[in-house]
């Protein structure tokens, strides 16, 4: 995206002047007629599409872009049905406007599936309008016309008109009835399923100002916001006069905020943790001054968590299964265990991990007595739009939210506390402010992937099939009522519905540490424990894991017909077979080298991965290759989905290897990359991606390829050396990548 484009999206008024004429389709797919108005340069065919006289087709991307590629894939859906040549397309971000675009967010791998029907209709409706205009211009019936590469052609006469010449007339035709607009069949796609370069690739390669951290507005000042290292504490006093006297510092003050550990509650909370704001003339002056800041903290409302104690409590709880609360139970799992031919019992654990997206949080806010504007890389700008007026006591229409590219999301930008901090500081200063979190702020004041402990028992029958399944979920809780985010067992179909006897129970242990969504929430730990433990059971029964897993999936069955969130065993078996075939599953390997398989269904995606791993005598692991077979339905952008999957493998390996957040007295101990290592290039495996064309509607690709990675590697380690790893990260078990 060019600087010109970012300017366009940073200025809502300008965007509306540019494109706000003609006809608009609302997010619900309903058609809304707005005043048609001649315009010299551009004609809007909907709230998403504008065609300029010079042939540029501007398509709006409605959802936040944080690296998942939706600024390319969503406009591609429109361009496909519009029959626009992709080389004519310029992508811009739409404004944040619930009336026009519905809920605008990036999360749950939902952008593509939620927009799929709507955006196809947007493109197809605009195409129908262009056809009508062309039919009038040429004096022929629309049935004789065809479209391709941004042109309408009348085959019989050989006449052809570009969209650019038709757009103004098209924007005035009466809107076709919704049921008269046909959508393409997948075999008619010219663009979808192809490899298309990310719409922002050239801008990124040239260092253009694309990201939240890059936003500047006139007269802007810069702020650091310092919170209590004991999570949830509050400042009583600070050496504010000394700080204010520092070079470059404009002001320093305490914000009362809401004490207590941060609550991950996107829809309802505008919680700003108490802290000290240092406002300065540039970022460095604020960062330099904070080194001299001395604060007396009240730690009474703060967390006193200790991660060693949490782990010990979990271990103790695992020994008291009889005290656990039963969640669901079918048959008699305990008796079935006794009756089983072979059985296994194991305790799996996962530590807290941080998001560590490369761009630390920042936000620019410009708040006056009458209005507020914020520029944010939030994954949930719609939530800011709804909640910020309340925080600032301004009417809803006085608040404008600009959605700006984020340097990585992974769930971290689902919350908006950095926006609310910036807004409060700007309101107090009466100046536009950029709040910039340091890396240390970003890690210490994260909400983490919850630590989680899964105690499992299973049995295998004479016939070699899973016959008993017991799962004990041990999760942190702030109130002893419900588990913190990430700890609640979610009812699911597999493997439970394939086991005649199962029993799921849970125990809560105290933990105040904030937790929240981290790439593939729940699944990122469940996949590891479940797929590792099923492999343990297969091994106990003397069975090959692929065969055991395929048998367990059993007959073809979609657990809930038509529901993309329900596992489809045919698709599951399809990806398992494809990944195993690609990896030549079953081949013999030298001593110390093994293949491991894992399958997991999450975020509506069926993904199988096979890892080839060597284990050295000193327990150093080398992950050589990972073969991935993924079924996320219709592929939108093949290059984009492959990139997401390659990245999920690397990211999954990164977290699996050596990432853990430890806590003492409520303080986060790892706050930068020296103590919280991300995987570096020399450790990255070769990744081989295969997309399975199953004919289903598209689902998201940002998350589902991450969960199978850790168990695939763990199962490969077992195959290589016979040792079973039951801890995330693997470094806790003494295995280093």
């Amino acid at each position: 995206m060019s600087a010109r484009e970012i300017n366009a999206r940073l200025n809502r008024r300008q965007f509306l002047q540019f494109s706000g004429f003609g006809l608009a389709l609302t997010a619900s797919g309903q058609v809304m007629q707005v005043v048609a108005k001649d315009h010299a340069d551009a004609s809007a065919l909907s709230a998403y599409i504008t065609v300029s006289a010079d042939g540029v087709i501007t398509i709006g991307a409605p959802n936040p872009e944080v690296g998942q590629g939706v600024n390319t894939s969503l406009p591609m859906i429109i361009a496909e049905e519009l029959d626009a040549a992709w080389s004519d397309v310029k992508v811009v971000n739409t404004p944040i406007d619930a009336a026009q675009y519905g809920a605008q967010f990036a999360g749950g791998s939902l952008s593509v599936p939620m927009r799929w029907d709507e955006l196809r209709r947007v493109g197809a409706t605009a195409r129908a309008m262009l056809l009508q205009a062309a039919a009038q211009a040429m004096g022929v019936p629309t049935a004789e016309l065809s479209t391709q590469d941004s042109r309408v052609t009348h085959e019989v006469s050989g006449r052809s008109l570009p969209y650019a010449e038709l757009a103004l007339d098209a924007s005035k035709v009466s809107l076709p009835a919704a049921d008269s607009v046909a959508l393409k069949a997948p075999e008619q796609y010219r663009l979808l399923g192809q490899r298309v370069t990310n719409a922002s690739a050239a801008a990124i390669a040239q260092g253009e100002a694309l990201f939240g951290i890059d936003v500047t507005v006139p007269d802007m000042v810069y702020a650091s916001y310092i919170k209590c290292p004991h999570i949830g504490g509050r400042p009583i006093s600070a050496n504010l006069d000394e700080i204010k006297a520092q070079r470059g510092v404009i002001d320093a003050f305490i914000i009362e905020g809401e004490a207590g550990p941060y609550q991950f509650d996107i829809r309802n909370s505008t919680q700003v943790s108490p802290g000290v704001a240092i406002v300065a003339r540039d970022t460095w002056a604020a960062m330099r001054a904070r080194k001299l800041l001395k604060v007396q903290w009240d730690t009474e409302p703060a967390s006193s968590d200790d991660s060693e104690q949490i782990a010990a409590a979990a271990k103790a709880a695992a020994g008291r299964r009889d005290e656990a609360k039963t969640i669901s139970s079918v048959g008699d799992a305990s008796q079935a265990l006794l009756d089983a031919k072979s059985r296994a019992k194991a305790f799996y654990s996962a530590d807290f991990v941080s998001h560590a997206q490369l761009e630390p949080q920042s936000c620019v806010a410009q708040v006056t007595a009458q209005s507020a504007e914020v520029w944010t890389s939030s994954q949930t700008p719609s939530a800011v739009d709804q909640l910020l007026p309340g925080l600032l006591a301004l009417p809803a229409e006085a608040v404008t939210v600009h959605s700006v590219r984020g340097g990585g999301g992974f769930g971290r930008r689902l919350s908006n506390e950095y926006v609310y901090e910036a807004a409060l500081i700007s309101q107090r200063m009466g100046l536009p402010v950029k709040v910039q979190w340091s890396r240390e702020d970003d890690m210490a004041f994260d909400y983490f992937r919850s630590a989680l402990y899964l105690d499992m028992e299973g049995g295998v029958s004479e016939e070699g099939r899973l016959s008993a399944w017991k799962l004990h979920v041990i999760a942190g809780s702030t109130d002893d009522e419900k588990a913190n985010y990430g700890g609640t067992y979610r009812e699911r179909d597999f493997p439970e519905s394939r086991v005649p006897h199962y029993d799921i129970a849970t125990t809560l242990i105290p933990s105040q540490t904030p937790t929240g969504a981290w790439r593939a929430p729940f699944s990122n730990i469940y996949a590891f424990a479940e797929q590792s433990f099923l492999c343990e059971l297969a091994a106990a029964a003397g069975r090959d894991y692929r065969d055991f897993l395929l048998d367990l999936l059993g007959e073809d069955e979609w657990f809930k017909d038509g529901d993309r969130n329900a596992l489809n065993t045919a698709r599951a078996k399809g990806v398992i077979n494809a990944a195993c075939a690609a990896a030549s599953w079953g081949r013999s390997l030298p001593e110390g080298r093994g293949l491991g398989l894992a399958f997991f269904f999450s975020h509506a995606g069926h993904v199988a991965e096979v890892a080839e791993v060597s284990v050295a005598a000193d327990r150093r692991l080398t992950v050589h290759d990972v073969w991935v077979a993924a079924d996320v339905g219709q592929v939108i952008n093949l290059s984009g989905v492959e990139n997401q999957i390659e990245g999920s493998v690397v990211d999954g390996l990164s977290a699996m290897a050596n990432q853990r957040i430890t806590i003492r007295e409520g303080c986060i101990q790892e706050t930068n990359f020296d103590t919280y290592p991300l995987l570096r290039m020399p450790k990255a495996p070769r990744v081989h991606v295969q997309m399975i064309a199953s004919g289903y509607s598209p689902t998201g690709a940002g998350e589902p390829a991450l969960p199978p990675l850790a168990p695939a590697v763990g199962n490969a380690v077992f195959a290589a050396c016979g040792e079973r790893i039951r801890e995330l990260p693997f470094s806790k078990a003494g295995f280093m990548v």
């Binding site: 690296g67 050239a202 390669a205 990201f211 490369l358 930068n672 020296d674 020399p682």
Partner: protein, 178 residues
């Protein structure tokens, strides 16, 4: 009194900026060059990689006051009339996901190829080990560096961004292994 640093080939007076300011923040907050990114502030992530007299360096660790008479190149200064072959390869291989670390990745890669136009796989891995990518684009970065290496060795003309066609990378779907 003027205090001059050469930035992207232009002699630039930076005397209005506090001399203890790291180059990173001088570029970003005062000189309008925001391509160089803040990631960690302790030379661990590589997002702020620039060239100091042609060698890669972490801008978060370079106080401006120590740079008098030195020459700095940022990502914005890498292209001439056309994109640098490394930038071109980054586009052709569709490397970026979020894109935040890529300025540093590109500056490290271009520095590597300037020293060693035909690096081995191991040399690429070693030269790039200082640059973190949470999105996990390493697989594509390796390919892009190989591709840029071929371009440089083959003397292929620099790529003109004005001619960039976003469909140029469309290829047959036959190659499913990446």
């Amino acid at each position: 009194m003027p205090f001059n640093v050469t930035i992207n080939g232009e002699l630039t007076d930076v005397s209005h900026i506090d001399p203890d300011t790291p180059l990173l923040w001088a570029l970003r907050d005062h000189l309008g060059l925001v391509g160089t990114k803040y990631g960690c502030g302790i030379a661990q992530c590589g997002a702020c990689t620039v060239w100091l007299d042609g060698d890669p360096a972490r801008a978060c660790q370079l106080p401006l006051g120590q740079l008098e008479g030195r020459s700095i190149t940022t990502l914005e200064g890498l292209a001439g009339d056309a994109l640098h072959p490394v930038q071109q390869a980054w586009v052709e291989h569709d490397v970026a996901q979020c894109g935040y670390c890529q300025a540093g990745q590109i500056m490290s890669a271009a520095a590597l190829l300037a020293r060693n136009p035909a690096p081995s796989d191991d040399e690429i891995d070693r030269a790039m080990a200082g640059n973190i990518c949470r999105c996990g684009t390493y697989v594509r970065i390796r390919k892009a560096i190989k591709s840029a290496s071929s371009t440089i060795q083959g003397g292929v003309a620099f790529f003109d961004p004005g001619d960039f066609d976003s469909t140029a990378s469309l290829v047959d779907s036959k190659e499913v292994t990446s």
